[in-house]
């Protein structure tokens, strides 16, 4: 997929939660390049003396009709905070699209069946790429089931959008919304294990590493394939610097180019996670 460096215009910026903003970017009147769910962009942060390198951000949604690229930002440090301070109209220099993206199942016609159920498990800002993926699954005739985990109800993001796409199972650590506990403790897993619910064709996960490791173990137990989207520290985002490597069954590979999405069977997650 051809990569571009574009000065995208910030059409709007919306504060979703105290530490989360949604950026809607457009390419002037020109169309946006092709992009796939699970891919990411590298954003140059303007006017931020402390931010030297670009920041990798997942593609949250591509609205082809309006020509909008959505980025969901969790403000954790200088760079993301500077992004959250931007005003509509600002230009954002973005390299895109980067990485491989989630495996896209072929289109199916007719109703959903057990064979085209997909579970998408996200935690925190890791839910960002799952929205784009969910939309693509629906467009291809599949049935996404979302499992969204958060510390508390107020940390759940874009819930209405997920609900518009399919079933949403929520867990919160404090129990304010949905079931209490971690995503891996949701009753859906038990139902799958007990055969009450059908096994998904594939599980996609994105979020904090410990969560993804736990999800991947669950999938191993259930004998379900799983893809995880990693968030290693990056410098170039292009496969050139070899800074972002993850240890896999083929040795150290670049998360920015060979990933960020990996079948968990390829990963040698550290046991400690």
């Amino acid at each position: 997929m051809k990569k571009y460096v574009l000065d995208l215009e910030l059409r709007s910026i919306e504060t979703l939660r105290p530490d989360y903003v949604l950026l809607r970017l457009c390419n002037g009147t020109a169309p946006l390049p092709e992009m796939q769910p699970g891919q990411f962009v590298e954003v140059r942060v303007p006017d931020s003396p402390a931010t030297f390198l670009r920041r990798p951000i997942s593609i949250n949604k591509v609205d082809r009709e309006r020509g909008e690229l959505w980025l969901l930002i969790h403000t954790v440090g200088e760079g993301t905070r500077a992004l959250a301070r931007l005003k509509a109209g600002a230009l954002l220099n973005v390299v895109l699209p980067l990485g491989n993206g989630f495996t896209l199942p072929p289109c199916v016609e007719g109703g959903t069946s057990d064979a085209n159920r997909y579970v998408l498990v996200g935690g925190g800002v890791g839910t960002a790429p799952l929205l784009f993926m969910g939309e693509e699954l629906v467009a291809r005739g599949h049935e996404p089931i979302f499992m969204l985990g958060a510390r508390s109800g107020k940390d759940l993001l874009q819930l209405d959008r997920f609900e518009a796409l399919g079933q949403v199972c929520v867990t919160t650590e404090d129990g304010t919304v949905g079931e209490t506990g971690f995503v891996t403790q949701h009753s859906l897993w038990t139902k799958i294990r007990e055969g009450v619910c059908p096994k998904p064709a594939l599980v996609y996960t994105c979020g904090p590493k410990p969560m993804m490791v736990a999800v991947s173990r669950l999938c191993d137990d259930l004998d379900v394939a799983c893809e995880a989207s990693l968030e290693n520290l990056m410098a170039c985002g292009l496969g050139a610097c070899l800074c972002c490597v993850e240890n896999t069954t083929e040795g150290n590979v670049c998360v920015c180019k060979d990933g960020p999405v990996f079948p968990t069977s390829r990963l040698r997650w550290k046991a400690e996670c």
Binding site: L53, R54, M234, A235, C236, A240, C241, N247, N252
Partner: protein, 307 residues
């Protein structure tokens, strides 16, 4: 007004002084969507060793004030992979593809160079005697004149084409190391490689990089790099290739004024993948504004102005 951007590194002709620094531009191919590779003065590919190497564990990178640390540790698939898989993809490029060579003994350096000498479309190698991120070899050779001499001597005997020796800045007198490389037959020196540095995570109370230390690059190091290019230019008679923190054409010009016959752009490629194209255009614009016939007129031109 038409200014020639042609420059030379020994016998090697460059269509302009702008090359890419090893380890920051992959094999060039990674940037083909952003830059017309054929317009570059040269592409210096990833550090290559005789045997494949896995490099250091993750994390390998830390951001610093106007710079970054890396401890990649020469991860590469070995010289045979380069010859068999990469070379066919880059041999047709109309620019100088130069291989950056590393090793852990004069013999492995020389053997790696010997294999690359057989590739018709690789006109030069850059000898990395200065990588701070590998325990054995690498920088050890680059920090004493004797160490540098021993590697350069072995490689010179094995490699007939243009031999550029890349120097470490982590030394008391870089001029001494440059002279040692020159006296063993290097055709040029390039500098600087990364400055050895460290980043610490105050909350987790430990270094950020997996092996503790790493190499510092980016604008932060430019003043040190300029000073060293200046010193080495005064110390040797072979051409100097300058790098370290170049982000734009003005930076590149500064290196040439300090004595560089050509420059390399490293970390800047991460900040702007199209930077090399902009630097070439900016150098051209500068040359025209200053009414130069040839960009080579400014090489070392800042010398003599200071006592």
């Amino acid at each position: 007004m038409n200014c020639s951007l042609l420059t030379k590194i020994g016998d090697l002709q460059l269509q302009n002084p702008v090359m890419t620094a090893s380890g920051t531009f992959g094999y060039g191919l990674e940037f083909a969507d952003f830059v017309d590779l054929n317009t570059l003065g040269g592409i210096i590919v990833k550090g290559t060793t005789l045997e494949p190497r896995q490099g250091n564990p993750y994390p390998r990178m830390a951001e610093t004030a106007q710079g970054m640390l890396n401890c990649v540790g020469l991860q590469n698939k070995g010289v045979d992979y380069f010859c068999n898989v990469i070379y066919p993809q880059v041999a047709g490029l109309k620019t100088n593809v130069i291989v950056n060579v590393s090793g852990n003994s004069p013999e492995t350096y020389a053997e790696c160079a010997r294999r690359i000498a057989e590739l018709d479309h690789i006109p030069a190698i850059e000898l990395n005697i200065s990588c701070p991120n590998v325990k054995k070899g690498g920088m050890a050779f680059g920090v004493t004149p004797e160490g540098a001499a021993s590697v350069v001597k072995a490689v010179r005997a094995a490699y007939p084409k243009t031999l550029i020796v890349k120097l470490s800045p982590n030394v008391t007198s870089i001029a001494d190391i440059a002279r040692a490389a020159e006296s063993e037959g290097a055709d040029a020196v390039s500098l600087i490689n990364t400055l050895m540095g460290m980043a610490i995570d105050a909350e987790r109370q430990r270094p950020i990089l997996s092996i503790g230390t790493g190499g510092l690059s980016g604008p932060a190091v430019k003043p040190v790099a300029l000073r060293m290019v200046w010193q080495v230019y005064e110390a040797v008679n072979i051409p100097v290739v300058g790098l370290g923190g170049i982000m734009n054409a003005t930076d590149a010009i500064e290196f040439m004024l300090a004595g560089a016959s050509a420059v390399e752009i490293g970390t800047a490629n991460f900040i702007d993948p199209t930077v090399t194209t902009k630097v070439i255009a900016g150098i051209k614009e500068y040359a025209e504004r200053h009414k130069l016939k040839s960009i080579t007129e400014i090489i070392g031109a800042a010398h003599g102005s200071v006592s």
